[in-house]
Assembly symmetry: C2
Homo-oligomer: 418 residues x 2
Amino acid sequence: MARIVMKFGGTSMAGTERIRRVARIVQRQQAAGHEVAVVVSAMAGETDRLVNFCREANPLYDPAEYDVVVASGEQVTSGLLAMHLQALGCKARSWLGWQLPIHTDDAHSKARIEGIDSEAVLASMASGEIAVIPGFQGVSDKGRVTTLGRGGSDTSAVAVAAAVKADRCDIYTDVDGVYTTDPRIVAKARKLKNVTYEEMLELASVGSKVLQTRSVSLAMKEGVRVQVLSSFIDDDAPAADTIPGTMIVSDEELEGLDMERQLITGIAADKNEAKITLTRISDRPGAVAAIFGPLAAANINVDMIIQNIAKDKGETDVTFTVPLADLARAQALLEERKDTIGYYRMLANSKVAKISVVGVGMRSHAGVAATMFRALADRGINIQAITTSEIKVSVLIDEDETELAVRVLHTAYEMDAE
Amino acid sequence: MARIVMKFGGTSMAGTERIRRVARIVQRQQAAGHEVAVVVSAMAGETDRLVNFCREANPLYDPAEYDVVVASGEQVTSGLLAMHLQALGCKARSWLGWQLPIHTDDAHSKARIEGIDSEAVLASMASGEIAVIPGFQGVSDKGRVTTLGRGGSDTSAVAVAAAVKADRCDIYTDVDGVYTTDPRIVAKARKLKNVTYEEMLELASVGSKVLQTRSVSLAMKEGVRVQVLSSFIDDDAPAADTIPGTMIVSDEELEGLDMERQLITGIAADKNEAKITLTRISDRPGAVAAIFGPLAAANINVDMIIQNIAKDKGETDVTFTVPLADLARAQALLEERKDTIGYYRMLANSKVAKISVVGVGMRSHAGVAATMFRALADRGINIQAITTSEIKVSVLIDEDETELAVRVLHTAYEMDAE
């Protein structure tokens, strides 16, 4: 017997027939002898509908009231799933965020979970009752409803799994696992059996939107084993145990599981970056701080930074990337500070893509970056910027070459499925 | 300065534009110097949508989970109204049922309010913050969400008004007050300035669906002054104080307000009754108990009862009315017990209407019933059954004669507007 937390997203909960299907998947886990808690999202489209009402009410809406409104979507699906489970003969009940409770800080609309009281729900689960828990919501120490920010249900599921010391947290999504790269780009992409937390973080943060990044960080911190699998499996399929998706595990566990692991785990492409170049900045102490200080203060996340070699006259160009969504704001901010910073021209380019190769294997192997640069050069793809971390190499290229670059690298690292 | 509870129904809360209109009405009350709490229903249609999901999930749904699902409708509108009020520059916050809390018993889907903690909300109101409270919902002593049954928001409003010792509870509806009778039947119907709790109860229970009966009983018990008025007043109209609807008050207050009160306050018609006659029942002790005991046990509410004078051979006919919705169930139940009861034939008629004249004035005046019978007889309307209470006379007639009877009586009691 194991204790399992299952999480279903909005697509899986969109309407009576789909919730019934989810109930059958949950029932099978219980029938296999497990203690089960289920974390659910709102029906697909419902959160958008509610957010729209909030925006119409007041463009500068009070996030505390926003949370009251949008948390209702998950409340509805949790009650409905409990009913569907009961209709199948299971014992089940819903536990709202304030009922468990799921304690959060009071940063409304983007709250962080501080702790979950698990005693009552554990007793209920031990008695054979399935706990159905709305994702995305919690309660502040002032007793007000909070939400965790969009996509927060993944984080709820991992936090619940940590609180009840679950053996596994199964995240059911509309894909059936994590792939070496986007299968819509590379037909020969392979599903990974295992991936480490850190790899998943790197892949998630560069555009593989299978799991919310926060949920992966939390799982890593709390040591929760997370499995990504499809909720669109056949109705009569056996319990999830026997049709695994991708398991997200620690480095240590991975070593035991996968001796013959490849050098590179995955390749991700991210088109949500934009490049800004400031030319002819005077090459003096404090010049760079004058650029990045204000951006940080404005909560604009700078990713890649390149400072060209100083030219004559003590001048240099600085190039960096910001999220595409923040480009206009960043430009306005730098325009305002043109004199303070002391640059000649500002150039912006939103038609760029960041391509990253990720893998814990590269720690012990040299040559990963070299392979990447050579493969891209052979196809005439120009690299505009480079960053590296211990388990990742990223390059910035022209957006039009995104798909080509991913395919070239997938082949270069010998990842294509047979 | 007064302390006022305002209540808005689902039609008033249906969508952004209407909620904005409600916010302006509320703002005007506050601007007039009052402390204000607002109780809101779900958007029109929303509760039906949620109930449908519950029925689809499980026809024999768990009422505790049903409450989790359907209570969300009022949660949404309370948050949205708070935002709309804030957009107008008012201080406002929502207080969910479990936050006040509104304590109820745990009769899920038809819970009764046991008490409301008013301390926190009173402090908030005293600081100039408008309290927005979802109607229809509460919390049980087990900490689970409860609902009060359909239409329960009126009851929530009156209970909140009692808890905060409000000077007045204004119920905004899609009519602008209580009329002497249905204006769609009698064009000369007049809006009443005042009506007593007991009159309102009698009018409500016989078909004037302005207020939920429970809310009127509670108002009477707690001495809450309730005003019924229209939410579809002109946007630029002054605060509600100056455009009164109908005030529901105690007998004592009424005497002070309205010395020249008419004998009859209102005339109501109710087509939701059905008549059953059991013929040739043996006229022995216990025969009647054998009929009405099982009906009571099945929660079927018997209203009018006539026992004909015993004929020869010790036999009698018994006629009574039941709610139309319960007719089939009542017939099945009596058919089953045919031998125990010992009747000859069962006759049923669903094409009947109950016409009631109501007024506290009739306590001190004889002849009200006589006027009614004569006026109906003069127009050839046959009376099938009669019941009376201290402030009401009801007759059962053929359903086809409903409108005629109401018009005839409205004239007979000299109630027609000039």
